[in-house]
Amino acid sequence: MTAVRTFFWQGIEVPFRAGESVAAALSGANIHGFGKDNAGSQTRYFCGIGACQCCLVRVDGRTTEACLEPVHAGMIVTALEDGDA
């Protein structure tokens, strides 16, 4: 049996399947709100194709669309509002 691969969302370990997006893995963990963006709106998965910019998160410090970003083991994913420090 292969070991379960995980990444980190807000410091919590979340399992994922190889080849899926950060957003898909978060959805699998029943995480649907990704915190507030710079304009104060709730971010969340919406269009799924990188067009709406509603699912922006920080991946290893870089702002990117959760729906386009392939997830990797050990990846550090945080909400935009928690990445300013």
Binding site: R17, A18, G19, E20, S21, A23, A24, S27, G28, N30, H32, G33, F34, D37, A39, G40, S41, Q42, R44, Y45, F46, C47, G48, I49, G50, A51, C52, Q53, C54, L56, R62, T63, T64, C67, L68, P70
Partner: protein, 453 residues
């Protein structure tokens, strides 16, 4: 590495068939796709270990056939590459998302095949977490994450039934599909679909779970409001007879049709570069049309670069256009066209900037006429990160609704009037722009040329 003769953007049926056809000429072709895998919306592939979603009968084995042709071709495939635009010198800018740098490319031809985006009309609560575009839920489903819990699908069009059928097959049918049209009340229009026999098996697959009553199909019904209470979403529906009904669900998928993903593209590109549009980006006609249209674009690009006359007429598109026209009549809203100004003032139109219907009314209330450009620059509608992809259509149509109700007849201004037709066509990291450059190995070639000169 040499510069490719032709760059194709978009790895769906239009882009792949364009690349395959163009490469037959012997010209060098690079195919760029923003995701890690090809397929596009229709042929999206499952993540490792996930069960694939069965294709509709008319599309069965189409992807296997296309990808076999691609493997046999000399097309170079580059994934995680997003098209950023064309600069004033005719350079094609491609964001290499994995490397975090923008590639500056100078092909002789560019074929754009970036598909369609969904239209999602603003409704109170559409911006809440747990509410997604129905196509967004379908992306997850195809990649192997079946939307869990109680799911409601609402809006209009065949995509809602397709997603409902796929969710049913995956073991979690939606609680209900809320369709604004009433296809059953238009038997004559439905009969005309018989002139397109290739989609009849698809329709049978879509209708089977409806006939088996695996989910409720509320026709002629409009979702008028979404509210959040504790962990649940509450959807309010209005039936044709005015009766109201509420559904408590975990997730909601909205869909009000598709539109070409041609945002920000200028009508008059810089000279010297052949630019062709293909598939849903050119005209939303579906996967079959996209594949044929892409092939046509690939042949045309090759012919133009080789100075041959391009003979393609794209006349096959007429049949697909007739089909789309019939489908849109069948799914026409039974309660008449929606009027945005009837939504409460606090309804969000532009999510990125948090701008509401009330904000728009305020901006238009002044004595001077407001232009589409001012709506964006002063009102911040369409000013945010999505660059107006999800709000401009609605902000502009509300503006003309309000003008009409004030006695000024006006059709909605064109998207181009907002003044956003320029690169970057999508957000790109400043660091990626700062790293922009020609390919390392091209630089090496130039360096070597410099030494030997």
């Amino acid at each position: 590495m040499r510069e490719a003769d032709i760059i194709v953007v978009g790895g769906g049926p239009a882009g792949v068939s364009a690349a395959v056809e163009a490469a037959k000429s012997g010209l060098s072709v690079v195919l760029c796709e923003q995701r890690p895998a090809l397929g596009g919306a229709i042929h999206r592939q499952p993540a490792e270990g996930a069960a694939p979603v069965a294709a509709l009968p008319s599309l069965a084995r189409r992807w296997q056939s296309l990808s076999a042709k691609l493997s046999a071709s000399r097309v170079e495939v580059r994934t995680r590459r997003a098209f950023v635009g064309i600069d004033s010198t005719g350079a094609v800018l491609i964001d290499d998302r994995a490397a975090g740098k923008v590639e500056v490319r100078r092909p002789r031809a560019l074929i754009l095949a970036c598909g369609a985006v969904e239209r999602v009309r603003p409704r109170p609560g559409w911006h809440l977490p747990g509410v997604a575009a129905a196509g967004g839920l379908q992306v997850m489903l195809k990649e192997g994450r079946v939307p869990e819990g109680r799911v409601l699908l609402a809006g209009s069009g065949p995509l809602l039934l397709a997603l409902a059928a796929q969710m049913t097959a995956a073991g979690n049918p939606p609680v209900a599909v809320v369709e604004e049209g009433d296809p059953v009340s238009r038997p004559l229009a439905a009969t005309r679909l018989l002139t397109h026999p290739f989609i009849l098996p698809d329709m049978a697959v879509l209708m089977m779970p409806v006939l088996l009553r695996r989910f409720l199909w509320r026709r002629g019904t409009r979702l008028t409001e979404i509210t959040q209470s504790a962990d649940m979403l509450s959807a309010r529906l209005r039936a044709p007879d005015g009766r109201e009904e509420r559904f408590e669900v975990d997730r909601i998928g909205l869909h009000d049709g598709l539109r070409a993903n041609d945002f920000g593209l200028t009508a008059d590109p810089p000279s010297g570069l052949v630019i062709l549009r293909a598939g849903d980006l050119r005209e939303v006609l579906g996967a079959h049309a996209a594949e044929a249209d892409g092939a046509e674009a690939g042949r045309e690009a090759a012919a133009r670069l080789e100075g041959r006359p391009s003979c393609g007429s794209r006349s096959a598109m007429r049949r697909h256009r007739a089909l789309q026209h019939r489908l849109s009549r069948i799914f026409a809203p039974a309660q008449g066209a929606t009027v945005l100004r009837d939504c409460p003032d606090e309804t969000v139109i532009c999510r990125c900037e948090g701008r509401t219907i009330g904000h728009l009314k305020e901006q238009l209330a002044g004595p001077d006429a407001v232009s589409a450009r001012e709506l964006r620059l002063n009102g911040r509608f369409g000013m945010g990160a999505c660059q107006g992809r999800f709000c401009s259509e609605w902000a502009l149509s509300l503006m003309s609704e309000l003008r009409r109700s004030a006695g000024v007849p006006a059709s909605p201004p064109d998207f181009a009037e907002t003044g956003v037709c320029r690169w970057p066509l999508r957000p790109v990291a400043l660091s990626s722009l700062a790293n922009a450059g020609i390919y390392d190995d091209t630089r090496t070639e130039r360096h070597i040329e410099g030494i030997s000169a």
